[in-house]
Amino acid sequence: MTEAAPNPVTAVMRALADPTRRAVFERVFDNKEISVAELTRGSGVTQGAISQHLKSLKQAGLVAERAEGRNVYYRASPQGLKPLVTWMDHYGVFWRERFENLRDLLKEIDP
């Protein structure tokens, strides 16, 4: 681990690149809140493995946890995906505006 502060985009990409981890994230996403035990059930992997995946997802800012007694519950934190969509949001607006500019310009040069 030599990278001090990986780019959040890269962190999110990495966290979701693993198919098992992505499946864990999707299950968390589909539930309002879910415990490690529930996530392990029927997953085909050990609770330890699930915990590791949750840890990675948490580090990437994709899930948040809440402790209650001896149980820890996880919920999705879609804000973690925001770095990915910033550029798209920017260009979504940018191109819509430019498209309208182009329409106006064409009207002007070819009435």
């Binding site: 990409m13 690149a17 992505r22 994230f25 996403f29 804000q79 550029w87 979504g92 310009l105």
Partner: protein, 154 residues
């Protein structure tokens, strides 16, 4: 109204509309530096020739000077114009983060004029396998909640 969509599967920006002009007229607006300056931004060094490199100066962000580096990848007169659109800096996140994308303009003559389609493709990490992996599953679900995120910010 133009149809604007954020394609959740491929993460392309797609605009698609019919303009009441001939493809030749629209082509001129897409490939003349003077006209581009009037509706998009003033390009520096643009020529509609494959391999041509040109730049756009946009708003700087963080460690990035705001320069978009473009390269003409494909020119099919009156039909298709494709250019690479790169910018950003590794040290930035969000606006100003590394950007390696491709802009494609396609023109198709139709009865009412010309169907004009803009695709800005390759957001995030287009050559990175993990990016494709994300697209193949889970992304749709994620997008469902993006509305909620924007709601929280406003």
């Amino acid at each position: 109204m133009s149809a604007a969509a954020l394609n959740a599967e491929t993460r392309d920006i797609v605009l698609d509309d019919v303009f009441p002009h001939a493809p030749e007229t629209i082509w001129k607006a897409l490939t003349s530096a003077q006209l581009i300056a009037r509706w998009l931004m003033p390009p520096t060094g643009f020529e509609a020739v494959e391999g041509n490199t040109f730049t756009y100066q946009t708003k700087p962000g963080g460690n990035w000077d705001g320069v978009i580096h473009c390269r003409v990848l494909e020119v099919v007169p009156f039909r298709r114009l494709v250019y690479a659109w790169k910018g950003g800096d590794e040290r930035n996140v969000g606006y100003g983060a590394p950007l390696d994308t491709v802009v494609t303009w396609s023109l198709t003559p139709v009865e009412a004029g010309t169907r004009i389609q803009l695709v800005h493709a390759g957001f995030a990490l287009p050559r990175n396998e993990s990016a494709y992996t994300i697209m193949s599953g889970g992304w749709k679900k994620v997008v469902r909640q993006l509305d909620e995120i924007s709601g929280e910010d406003s």
